[in-house]
């Protein structure tokens, strides 16, 4: 605006005047358009003159555009906006935003007067805000290389501090910054909650993984890779076939054993049995022969030829006596797919290296003698028959 234009009625309008009038118009927006036009026509010229005359801020001289519009309405006999505004939401939000701001400013001032050192923490808060924003960005841009993420976080911290400085100096309006802060807080809350919930669901996942290889044969929680049988006198039985309480023959499928063990990542218990062709085979007669040293140390234990005889049980003198119920696991030759449940016939002497006496010695499996696989009785099979 040039100084020479103070001729009556002709005056260029400064931006701040136009802005003020625009805000007044916005406050009157609920009125008919022609009414707004009528009432604000000439207002720019008048306020520009006023501004040029007083030099003071229009807001100081006239109050806020909202107050100005309210006074205008009252004097003009127009209904106040509160009673006119059907939607009312904008007004409501504005008023309440003002109330919130005032309350926040009041609380802030109280806090600051009580603890002036809080003001010194503003820098730390700005850094923390930048860190949060940067971390969130880095999370979203997960495919970015780590160095780029570091740079992003650094830039975010810088931007946050700059924003803080600008807000502190009053060069920014308060509400966009407040909006940003609230958004960041909500994002942090959501991410935190999600992290908590995923942690909680992760635990059962681990549990189910540990249940996956439950198909194998277990003893004391460890997968059984081979079995060594001893008779009551402590002599090792060179070949034995075992049946569980359901009459299912205990077999160890080489492939499954390997997979199960592999899922534990325990290389020392890898118990894969191969036939002569190098194919995994199912073991149904124990102990299984190893390709390699026949009685090699397994898990640090070398099966001795004989062990200490079991203390004779008074109630059970004849462990081989067929129990009445032993008719159930009738056919050891019935290709009962049991523990492993996978392929390959069990009865056929698939392992030529197995000892010849196997079939004979296990002709009549006693149901009681094959009590549960996980009763870890490391003593000889004393036929824990139910009394």
């Amino acid at each position: 605006m040039s100084e020479s234009t103070t001729v009556m009625g002709t005056q260029a309008t400064p931006a701040r005047v136009r802005s003020y009038v625009a805000q007044v118009r916005a406050e009157l927006a609920d009125l008919p358009a022609e009414e707004v036009e009528e009432i604000t026509l000439g207002m720019e010229a008048d306020l520009a003159e006023l501004a040029a005359e007083s030099g003071a801020d229009l807001r100081i001289r006239l109050g806020t555009p909202q107050a100005y519009a309210a006074e205008l309405r009252a004097a003009a006999g127009l209904p106040s906006r509160a009673s006119r505004d059907q939607a009312g939401l904008g007004r409501w939000a504005r008023e309440h935003a003002g109330a919130v701001r005032d309350a926040a400013a009041g609380t802030g001032a109280q806090l600051l007067s009580g603890a002036p050192w809080l003001r010194e923490l503003r820098g730390a808060w700005w850094v923390a805000r930048g860190l949060a924003a940067g971390a969130y960005l880095a999370l979203v841009l997960s495919w970015f290389p780590a160095t780029a993420k570091v740079i992003i976080v650094g830039l975010a911290i810088g931007a946050s501090v700059m924003l803080g400085l600008r807000t502190a100096s009053g060069r920014l309006r308060w509400w966009p910054v407040a909006l940003l802060n609230v958004t960041l807080a909500v994002v942090a809350l959501v991410l935190g909650l999600r992290a908590l919930t995923t942690e909680r669901t992760a635990a059962p996942e681990v549990a189910t993984i540990s249940k996956v290889p439950a198909e194998g044969l277990y003893n004391g929680g460890a997968l059984v890779g081979n079995l060594y049988a001893y008779d009551a006198q402590g002599r090792r039985i060179e070949s034995v076939r075992l049946f569980d309480q359901r009459g299912h023959q205990v077999v160890i499928n080489g492939t499954e054993a390997e997979e199960s063990v592999g899922s534990y990542g325990d290389s020392t218990t890898t118990t894969t049995f191969y036939d002569e062709n190098g194919e995994p085979r199912t073991v149904d007669s124990f102990p299984a022969a190893w390709i390699g040293p026949a009685w090699g140390p397994i898990l640090g234990w070398t099966p001795p030829v004989s062990i200490i005889p079991a203390t004779p049980s008074p109630t059970d003198s004849s462990p081989t006596a067929p129990s009445p119920a032993n008719s159930t696991p009738t056919a050891p030759t019935s290709d009962d797919q049991t523990n492993g449940g996978s392929a390959s016939s069990t009865s056929a002497p698939t392992s030529a290296s197995n000892s010849k006496t196997s079939r004979a010695s296990s002709g009549t499996p006693s149901r009681s003698s094959s009590s549960g696989t996980d009763t870890s009785t490391d003593a000889a099979p004393t036929s824990t028959s139910t009394k």
Partner: protein, 109 residues
């Protein structure tokens, strides 16, 4: 006693009196009212009063176009406005007389 409240009650009369002497635009009216001694008159109140008096048919209005700035809106008085002015003037005179009487009695004691 709040001068702002007092002014509000007599603003119609004051604005009519100013316009009756000479046509004027909003801020011009404000300035003349203040120059006359009504310091507490509000800008927006004057604009609103002008608008209301116009709507009531007591004022005329015309726009003076400007080549380099926004247009200016002038208000002038008409017959209806002069009638309102005269009526309110009487009311005001009676009010002032009553108040003066009250106050002089109070001052005499």
């Amino acid at each position: 006693m709040d001068p702002t409240q007092l002014v509000k009650g007599v603003l119609d009369l004051a604005v009519l009196a100013v316009i009756a002497r000479e046509d004027g635009y909003g801020y011009d009216v404000v300035r003349r009212l203040r120059a006359a001694g009504l310091e507490d008159v509000g800008d927006a109140s004057v604009y609103g009063t002008l608008r209301r008096l116009y709507s009531a048919g007591a004022l005329t209005s015309y726009v003076v176009a400007s080549e380099e700035g926004p247009h200016r809106k002038y208000y002038g008085i008409n017959a209806e406005g002069r009638h309102v002015l005269a009526t309110q003037h009487k009311t005001w005179t009676g009010f002032v007389a009553a108040m003066d009487g009250l106050l002089s009695e109070a001052g005499a004691q």
